[in-house]
């Protein structure tokens, strides 16, 4: 039980790290792609399974890119996004644009995490191997 619990903690930590740091940097800088280096750095901090990386990346990116939209929906409803979808020729009753936004944000962070993780494994393979024996759950 200990190992999956540890993985869950790491996974949540990663998610929060990527989301918050990139959200803050994006907001401050006004530059959308700072999320990518944030995710790279996060990917280098912890070794985690590929599945964890994928989930953390997709979720953090989706949260980051959707946050403004979610706040808007909370206060005003979905009407604007329904109109936006219709205008862009997307189906989905207002979710087409949102889904697209979440997917792109998620992919960006996933690519950031996976690149960071590959870099980590490239530069610190031995020490990592010592510290983290390849856990069974990773398969």
């Amino acid at each position: 039980m200990r190992t999956p619990f540890l993985a869950l903690i790491k996974w949540v930590f990663l998610l929060a790290l990527v989301t918050l740091s990139s959200a803050m940097l994006t907001k401050v800088s006004g530059i959308w792609w700072v999320a990518y280096p944030c995710a790279c750095v996060a990917g280098m901090l912890l070794r985690i399974s590929w599945l964890g990386i994928l989930l953390a990346g997709l979720l953090s990116g989706a949260l980051l890119w959707l946050l403004p939209a979610m706040l808007w929906i909370q206060s005003k409803g979905l009407d604007f996004f329904i109109a936006l979808d219709q205008s862009m020729g997307l189906p989905g009753h207002g979710f087409g644009f949102l889904f697209g936004s979440a997917l792109l944000g998620g992919l960006m962070n996933t690519f950031g995490l996976v690149t960071g993780q590959s870099l980590l494994r490239l530069i610190k393979p031995k020490s990592m191997k010592k510290k983290y024996k390849i856990p069974d759950y990773r398969a």
Partner: protein, 808 residues
């Protein structure tokens, strides 16, 4: 292996970035749309509420701007410059995309932001010559100090906003198209006014009537398209002003260009434009002072073609609607006068066929021809000549370049005759000669409509209003006025060509001097009324004068609305706001009241619910009436059968005023005029009735009419569909699927001047803003809001104070 994995993911990341910044299918730079900071989703953050900086470079004194509780900007300024500067600033803040898009459309420059899809549309626009017309107008505007000051200040205001705006705060449409609007200029304001002139005068029936003439002959056209319909109520008595002698107008020699073959490739003229205005004298109102009403019927769009604006300069207010892109108020009121306009619908654009000679290279390919314009800039090469009336004349050329987003630019030459652009379309005569088409338009004449509006804004009585119109030429408009002293007036003002009789109804022959304009009619003989005995003036796009009028003019004049308005006004006693508003919202159709009894008389009695409902119908196009839908369909189906030898896409269909005569007693006469005798009126009525009854889904009028307010750039999601509304184009409440009263205004001239107004759409062009859809519901139900020019808003949404930028 690890190195390979790292490089692989790095490359994958690079590929992903390439997709975001590159082109995917029809979409470019996806990151711009999906950017969480400046993309489409945070559109609600567009700064509706964001104040301008406390100090603005360009202002001369401090300015107070209130945004009132209905989002109308109220600008308090110490001088004209500051008022027009801030008008430009706030117009750009809320409507910059509209201003940019419409002027691009007018100039034929949409390809720059849309890409190759818009090239054909741009070419079509270039051949209308609106930029050429705007250059001429701008020259006139800039000769006049009042107009120049207003335009310079307005342009400075727009450009100040553009210089301050960040990309993330640009309109949604700019983000979708991924461009930033270009700086504003006085030329664009002139172009906007020419766009409006073209909208109101550019759609003429000459080609359709010419085709009817070619296919059915002069006798047929003479019978079905006379100069005047026999409607006895459709006139405004002309009153002579001044002592200009009346020139002789005689019939043209050989008025018919029947030697021409059919002309194809032209779009049907756009109908549906029309407006109402009327003024009641104090003798007919409850207050003892005049009431003025105006509702211009224009294409309904979001954002609205109009923008409400309230300017107060040195304590003198002016309130009304303006065109985003032009300074001043176009329709409105101040503390002493009110004015309104309807379209004159007089034909001021004539097509001419002409023969070319000289070298005959492809005229519209690019080449080294030097160019000239009206002001003698550059030089002309006479590549071709054309024969016009008195001899051969050289063509001049304008080089046009269409820059295309994502594709190479296209350059070509447009030849100009002394009349206007030479069109690409050709027509053959009966000898097989190929002729070119050109057109002459009063919009190409130097004029200054802007000065007229600026002076109206400041007028203190009706006489000053009349003087303000001295430079107003195109489009001809029926202006109505009222002032607080009790004077009322109507003047149809505009430049009208002096033609021979029958000229201008179809395509003229440029070789025939009688087919050319013989100068222009003087203002002194234009239709005018001041303080008439009957106690009101009105116009609804009908014939401005009765048939004995001694000058030849032609046009496309309204038939039914004016009759209803006239009958209501004749009975007006002690009218107040409620009565005036009720007439604007009146959906009673004089057409239905005239035609339906005659149609039912000729129809064998039917034992169906629809027949019974028609018998009981009161001719009011109510939103929930099914009888209204059925009658509309039945009449249309009957007309199709009646005029079946004519092709509506090519020929002109006779106006509906002839129907009562055919239905009453002239069926035999009708048959002799028609080229084929293939049935009887009764038979077609029955056929049409049965067809409608069998095929028509029972729909309410509202659902059948399906009035829609379309987004300016045709983005469906941002349009408003199926608006709950009554009305019909033959009723005072002239609502159609795409057109309608774009502004309703009723003004009481009892001091202090106050008004009830209604506008379909709010100030903002941002679909995510609450001020985008504002007012549509009230407008559809005929609910007005009260306004008082000069009154400081009691509960403004915002109050901004701006001072001139102090020197460092």
């Amino acid at each position: 292996m690890r190195l390979f994995r790292f490089i692989f993911w790095l490359l994958m990341s690079a590929l992903f970035f390439f997709v975001l910044v590159g082109k995917v299918g029809p979409y470019q730079k996806l990151y711009v749309w999906f950017n969480p900071i400046s993309g489409l989703s945070p559109q609600e953050k567009l700064p509706d509420w964001q104040a301008p900086p406390n100090q603005l470079a360009g202002l001369k004194s401090s300015v107070d701007v209130y945004i009132d509780s209905t989002w109308v900007p109220v600008i308090y300024a110490e001088n004209d410059w500051d008022a027009y500067f801030m008008q430009g600033y706030v117009s750009a803040k809320w409507r910059i995309f509209q201003m940019d898009f419409i002027t691009r459309f007018a100039a034929g420059r949409l390809s720059e932001i849309i890409g190759p899809k818009a090239i054909d549309l741009d070419k079509k626009q270039r051949f209308l010559g609106l930029s050429y017309a705007a250059e001429i107008a701008l020259h006139a505007f800039e000769q006049d100090s009042l107009s120049k000051l207003a335009m310079d200040a307005y342009t400075a205001g727009v450009n100040t906003w553009l210089s301050q705006v960040e990309d993330k705060d640009l309109p949604l449409e700019c983000k979708l198209l991924q461009y930033k609007p270009a700086p504003w200029s006085n030329f664009k304001s002139a172009l906007l006014l020419k766009y409006m002139a073209d909208l109101l005068t550019g759609s003429v029936h000459d080609i359709q009537v010419q085709n009817t003439l070619s296919d059915f002959g002069p006798e047929f056209v003479g019978q079905w398209f006379p100069d005047y319909n026999p409607n006895p109520n459709a006139s405004i008595d002309p009153q002579k002003r001044g002592s200009t002698s009346i020139p002789d107008s005689i019939k043209a020699k050989d008025p018919f260009s029947s030697y021409l073959n059919k002309i194809t490739g032209f779009e049907d003229p756009t109908d549906g434009l029309g407006s109402n205005n009327w003024v009641l004298h104090g003798s007919r109102t409850a207050t003892g002072k005049p009431f003025l009403a105006n509702d211009p019927h224009l294409p309904l769009s979001l954002p609205s073609i109009w923008m409400e604006m309230h300017l107060v300069v040195q304590g003198r207010p002016v309130y009304g609607v303006t065109l985003p892109g032009a300074p001043g108020i176009i329709i409105g009121m101040n503390d002493a006068v009110a004015w309104g306009v309807t379209n004159g619908t007089v034909d001021v654009k004539d097509y001419l066929a002409l023969r070319l000679t000289g070298q005959h290279p492809e005229l519209w390919s690019s080449g080294d021809v030097k160019l000239t314009d009206r002001f003698g800039r550059d030089s002309t090469i006479a590549k071709n000549s054309y024969f016009s009336g008195h001899g051969w004349e050289p063509l001049s050329y304008r080089k046009e370049t269409i820059d295309v987003k994502g594709a190479p630019s296209q350059s070509f030459l447009i030849p100009y005759t002394k009349f206007g652009p030479l069109l690409r379309e050709t027509v053959k005569n009966q000898h097989g000669e190929t002729l070119r088409l050109t057109f002459q338009w009063t919009g190409f004449e130097p004029s200054n409509e802007l000065r007229s509006f600026l002076l109206l804004n400041k007028a203190t009585n009706v006489e000053e209003c009349l003087m303000a119109l001295s430079t107003f030429k195109c489009p001809p408009q029926n202006f109505v006025f009222a002032d607080t002293t009790g004077d009322i007036a109507l003047w149809q003002k505009g430049l009208l060509p002096n033609r021979k009789y029958d000229v201008g109804k179809w395509v003229g022959d440029a070789r025939n001097p009688d087919h050319l304009w013989q100068g222009f009619l003087p203002d002194s003989i234009s239709p005018f009324i001041k303080n008439p005995k009957r106690g009101f003036v009105f116009s609804a796009n009908q014939h401005p004068t009765p048939s004995p009028y001694p000058y030849a003019y032609t046009g496309f004049f309204e038939l039914w609305r004016n009759q209803r308005i006239l009958s209501r006004l004749e009975n007006a006693k002690q009218w107040d706001f409620q009565d005036m508003q009720a007439l604007q919202m009146d959906s009673y159709s004089e057409e239905a009241a005239t035609l339906l009894p005659l149609m039912l008389e000729k129809l064998p009695k039917q034992n169906t619910p629809m027949y019974d409902s028609l018998l009981q119908w009161d001719y009011v196009y109510r939103a929930h009436s099914q009888a209204a839908t059925f009658f509309h369909q039945w009449l249309y189906a009957f007309e199709q059968r009646l005029w079946h030898p004519l092709n509506p896409e090519l020929h002109e269909i006779p106006e509906r005023w002839v129907l009562p005569h055919i239905l009453k007693d002239n069926e035999d006469k009708y048959k002799t005029w028609m080229p084929k005798d293939t049935g009887s009126v009764s038979q077609w009525l029955l056929e049409a009735f049965t067809f409608c009854q069998d095929s028509m889904v029972k729909e309410t009028w509202q659902s059948f009419k399906a009035t829609k307010i379309q987004h300016l750039a045709r983005l469906e999601g941002f349009s408003v569909k199926a608006i709950a509304s009554s009305g019909h184009h033959t009723a005072p409440n002239a609502m159609t699927p795409t057109h309608g009263p774009s502004w309703r205004m009723v003004v009481s001239l009892e001091p202090p001047v106050n008004a009830r107004v209604s506008l379909p759409g709010g100030i903002s062009g941002n679909p995510a803003s609450e001020a985008y859809y504002q007012g549509i519901k009230d407008w559809s139900y005929g609910i007005y809001k009260m306004v008082v020019p000069g009154k400081i808003p009691e509960h403004p949404k915002f109050h901004w104070k701006c001072a001139p930028l102090s020197s460092p």
